[in-house]
């Protein structure tokens, strides 16, 4: 420990505490330091002491001390005298013998048994029974006449110095009397110098006036030129500050957005409420597909239907579903229902945005993406949400192909910081070939999303003649990996403490 540096960093109050302790021979209570040092308040002593303790110059030890003060009976006894003492005096006055009846002159009814009890116990008097009961003084009794007993001395002492310590054996009898003495346990601190503290005191500690907080007037009047500015202990604890912060999920979205922008993609968006036609039918999802059932998709009560304005497209799509239309597909071989297509739902994927974009912009090249909320009928738990983000994208150019899909997705995940990426066969009703993307993270392969080339039954009816690469990636799983989260709900029902303390990624 660099004692000189430590001395420099001592505050005025810290120095005063050390110097006062020296005066008190290295040890004292905060009260003693307050009294013997030049302090205004005890809190100054305590603050300085706790800093000194953190600098290992002093030790603060806490002791539990039992103290006593007068109870209501005690105060009463002190004023009037102890009942047995008063009885003894009466006995002496009556020549060494009184009847119990006579005691009622000086003692109240409840004091009489107390007085008799203690007279007997102290052997100051004896009981004599004739036609009446008498108390007869003993030699012992005669001795204490006119003298202060130990108990009286302690009562008096406690009146002068309430809440002070009294040796156990001295206060034992008083404690056994009801309501005479109050007992209290108080914690007192003993502050003592450590070896380092003693060493520092061997050096010179000057109590010079120094600047703690620089103020405007100190700067202006030049006071700082003549006074020492106290250095801080830079390792000392300081309170935490929490400023405003972006939400980690939104930050992640922004990072993903930037990557797609850098890769030449244009961002698009759309409404949450869509028709089944655009969300499902146009994507060649058969109308009896299990995913379209009420247990998987959230349908709307209000609005319940969304009319399909694209009448010609509706006819084409109906044919594609029924027998393939002009696509050389067999179709799904069932009777297509236009009414089913009008059902309003909460979009189950953002692919609904991309397909509508392609319908409105059929000419290549285009690369678009969206990062938007989608909805599924899922109960909320640690790994499922009814509402979550999908990272959607397409590449549309004359000669796109499967290898380019692999290339684009690998590039994206590399830029997201994943080294190892692999692709597996997958199934989605609207892409063929379809691929599942997995990244290697924490020694495990994690599925992060689906991708593929839109089926001809999807692209041809909307006027697209080339293959279109498409993907829909999960955001929340990615967020869980990147943020080290175990419970997905934390993203949407965020704990403020977590937000305050979480480092930006």
């Amino acid at each position: 420990m660099d004692l000189n540096k430590t001395i420099k960093e001592l505050s005025q109050n810290e120095k005063k505490v050390l110097l006062t302790l020296k005066k008190l021979n290295g040890k004292g209570t905060p009260e003693e330091i307050l009294k013997n040092g030049d302090f205004q308040q005890k809190v100054e002593v305590m603050n300085a002491a706790s800093w000194l303790q953190s600098k290992k110059l002093i030790k603060i030890e806490e002791h539990i001390k039992t103290v006593y003060t007068l109870g209501p009976e005690g105060k009463h006894f002190l004023e009037k005298g102890l009942p047995e003492k008063r009885a003894l005096e009466k006995i002496a006055e009556k020549k060494g013998k009184v009847s119990l009846r006579e005691l009622t002159d000086i003692l109240s009814e409840h004091e009489i048994p107390i007085a008799i009890g203690w007279l007997i116990k102290n052997r100051w008097a004896k009981i004599q029974k004739n036609h009446e009961t008498f108390l007869q003084i003993t030699e012992e009794g005669k001795k204490v006449l006119g003298k202060k007993t130990l108990e009286e001395q302690i009562l008096k002492q406690l009146r002068q110095h309430p809440y002070t310590q009294v040796p156990d054996e001295k206060i034992k009898t008083l404690l056994s009397r009801k309501n005479v003495i109050k007992k209290k346990e108080i914690i007192t601190s003993i502050i003592s110098l450590t070896d380092n503290g003693k060493k520092i005191l061997q050096k010179e500690i000057k109590l010079e006036e120094e600047i703690t907080q620089i103020t405007s007037s100190i700067i202006k009047n030049g006071e700082w030129k003549n006074k020492k500015i106290r250095p801080y202990d830079i390792h000392a604890f300081t309170p935490s500050i929490y400023g405003g912060k972006p939400h980690p999920l939104i930050e992640l979205i922004n990072r993903i957005r930037r990557i797609f922008l850098e890769m030449g993609f244009q961002e698009i968006e759309g409404n949450f409420v869509e028709s089944s036609f655009w969300n499902m039918d146009v994507l060649f999802i058969p109308q009896d597909h299990p995913a379209r059932e009420m247990q998987d998709t959230l349908y709307c009560k209000k609005p319940s239907r969304i009319p399909i304005k694209e009448k010609k497209l509706l006819e084409t799509i109906a044919m594609v579903h029924e027998h393939g239309g002009n696509t050389s597909s067999t179709g799904w071989q069932y009777k297509f229902s236009k009414k089913e297509g009008e059902k309003a739902l909460l979009r189950t994927h953002t692919t609904v945005n991309t397909i509508r974009y392609l319908y409105n912009n059929p000419h290549p090249p285009s690369k678009v993406f969206s990062i938007g909320r989608v909805f599924r009928k899922e109960n909320l738990d640690a790994t499922h949400l009814p509402e979550f983000y999908q990272i959607e994208g397409i590449v549309h150019e004359k000669n796109t192909n499967f290898r380019q899909l692999i290339g684009v997705l690998k590039e994206f995940y590399h830029r997201m910081g994943f080294e190892k990426i692999r692709f597996r066969p997958a199934y989605f009703p609207y892409t063929e070939p379809s691929m599942e993307i997995e990244v290697f993270w924490n020694n495990k392969w994690m599925e992060l999303g689906g991708s593929g080339i839109f089926r001809p039954e999807v692209t041809e009816p909307i006027g697209i003649k080339n293959p279109v690469l498409a993907w829909g990636l999960g955001l929340e799983r990615l967020a869980m990996l990147k943020l080290g989260l175990k419970d997905i709900r934390k993203l949407y029902i965020s704990d403020i403490d977590w937000l305050r303390k979480k480092a930006l990624i």
Binding site: P290, M294, L298, P303, P386, Y492, I496
Partner: protein, 551 residues
């Protein structure tokens, strides 16, 4: 996705070749299925719903045999002739018109095979059969019944028989009312006044499709020969289901026998395991995959996927023979995918798009980013919350009358039954979740709200809960925001009455005569309703109104 669980040793027996467990677990996902879990010798895989032929261990073994290159190409099964026939009565036409049947003999029935068969049947019912609506399968012990069979529709009270899992005889109507399966599937016959039935020559009931079989033909460990009926509403689907079941049994050593199904004017022989043919263009394959594969390579890849394929003379074309259990081949593109899977996804080299396009953000992107930065600069923590909410939080707790809004027909629960029309309730819910943390707390969200016409809008809202929060502070915050976004000078503040705010402590922000937002001190009743107990200030601004005025 459906899961098939099987025993490793059983699989190896079926496969007929040795593959280590590790290799199996590594390679199976590359055929087109997800590995689910492994527990000792018990292996579970999730198969894709378009491949019902992989819904049994027998089907997986067949696919693996080709994919692992033990026996590539189309697996052929002998079909022996029989004179068994099924007469289809005209009465079924409007109810459940199609039936296909077959006989599989000489099986060694074990408990394991019975379990596997029932499992496959259930999976086909669910997926291909759309929960028995499109396809229902009956598997029968052939011993106690006598062909020819008859498929007809009968009056619900006219026939009674002992159904599976019961000991008493019940009429068809009683089955729908009282039998577990009857109750479960009764809706499929809701519109019918007569019910379908398959009976034998002696009028013994085989099955009451799509509900239940008779207990007479229950398959037991003593069964050797099974008769299979598949009924339904789609001719193609019932045939695929039949082919999948009988070829699975043939993998177990059974001999397939055909049957004749006779309609009024025509008759069909089932099963028909002749592969369908499709022409695949080499150019198309290479265009889609971005490869220069030669015909031989394409054929090898297809054979690994269980197809037979041959080059057409003098043409860059390949004739592909499609296994009769592959219901998922709708278009040439489906074959292209199987070429890619057979070739191996891991072998494709990466490539990139060639044509230049330019990155572009949404028009409101920059303004949104500025709004977020301003709010963060003002010391607010950003949050993001669900857009699905409920009437109680959106209106009741806000002391508002219920306004028109998007409602969900089949919500997961009351808590998530509508779309929000404003952000403040979402923010108050977050404060409520964070009651135990020290104050002050100040949070904001730039999020989406949905109007009564089901259109999305962006909105910015912030709330602050603090022992000393008050209207003046709120006004300072709103003015700071408007100033920093550059619209303060053109905005007015006007008194507003909003039930969620204290009267006299709420104001509207007016821009060009139009209200673009509001702010103030939240009403104590709203604070209490969200389980909070300290003063709260809040504001909400429709950001598209700001953007419109900026442009």
């Amino acid at each position: 996705m459906p899961v098939v669980t099987f025993d490793y040793n059983d699989f190896i027996n079926l496969l007929g070749y040795h593959v280590s467990k590790d290799e199996l677990i590594e390679k199976i996902p590359m055929i087109g299925a997800d590995f689910d879990r492994i527990d000792g010798d018990e292996i579970s895989i999730e198969f894709f719903p378009n491949r019902p032929d992989l819904a049994s261990v027998e089907g997986i073994a067949r696919a693996a045999r080709a994919f692992f290159s033990f026996k590539p190409g189309l697996r052929k099964y002998d079909v022996k002739k029989s004179s068994i026939s099924v007469d289809v009565d005209y009465s079924v036409k409007s109810i459940r018109p199609f039936v296909a049947t077959a006989l599989v003999k000489n099986l060694v029935m074990t408990d394991r095979l019975i379990a596997s068969l029932m499992d496959l049947q259930e999976k086909l019912h669910f997926g291909l059969g759309r929960n028995r609506k499109k396809v229902a399968i009956g598997v029968h012990d052939f011993e106690p019944i006598q062909p020819p069979f008859k498929y007809k529709a009968v009056d619900p009270d006219s026939v009674e028989f002992v159904p599976l899992a019961k000991t008493e005889s019940m009429t068809l109507r009683e089955i729908l009312e009282r039998h577990e399966k009857g109750v479960e599937y009764a809706h499929l016959l809701k519109k019918a006044d007569k019910y379908p039935l398959i009976v034998d020559a002696n009028n013994n009931v085989l099955s009451f499709p799509p509900i239940i079989n008779g207990s007479l033909t229950e398959v037991t460990p003593y069964t050797k020969n099974v008769f299979i009926d598949v009924t339904g509403t789609d001719r193609r689907s019932i045939e695929y289901a039949l082919n999948i079941i009988i070829t699975a049994l043939a993998e177990r050593g059974g001999d397939i026998y055909n049957t004749i199904v006779r309609y009024d004017r025509e008759s069909y022989v089932f099963p028909d395991l002749t592969p369908k043919k499709k022409i695949l263009s080499t150019t198309y394959v290479n265009k889609i995959l971005g490869m220069q594969m030669r015909e031989k390579e394409i054929i090898d890849s297809l054979r690994k996927m269980g197809y037979n394929a041959t080059v057409r003379k003098n043409k860059k074309q390949i004739t592909v023979e499609i296994p009769p259990w592959r219901s998922d081949i709708l278009h040439e593109i489906d074959l292209v995918e199987d070429v890619a899977i057979g070739y191996g996804f891991e072998r494709f080299k990466t490539d990139f798009p060639r044509e230049p396009t330019f990155g572009k953000t949404l028009p409101h992107h920059d303004i949104h980013e500025n709004l977020r930065r301003i709010m963060i600069g003002l010391g607010f923590n950003e949050i993001t919350t669900f857009t699905i909410s409920n009437k109680r939080d959106e209106f009741t707790k806000m002391r508002l009358k219920t306004l028109p809004h998007v409602q969900i027909k089949n919500p997961i629960g009351e808590e998530y039954s509508c779309l929000r029309t404003g952000l403040i309730p979402s923010l108050l819910k977050i404060l409520s979740e964070n009651r135990h943390h020290p104050l002050p707390q100040q949070i904001f969200e730039l999020g989406i709200v949905v109007d009564e016409k089901a259109k999305n809008h962006y909105s910015l809202a912030a709330v602050k809960i603090d022992a000393k929060a008050n209207f003046s502070e709120c006004k300072s915050l709103v003015e700071a925001l408007l100033r920093d976004i550059g619209v303060k000078k053109s905005c007015d503040i006007r008194e507003k009455k909003h039930p969620a705010f204290i009267i006299g402590r709420c104001a509207a922000i007016i821009k060009n005569g139009r209200e673009i937002g509001f702010f103030g001190e939240i009403h104590p009743e709203t604070i209490t309703a969200f389980n909070l107990s300290h003063p709260i200030i809040a504001f909400e601004i429709r950001t598209n109104h700001i953007i419109k005025t900026l442009h």
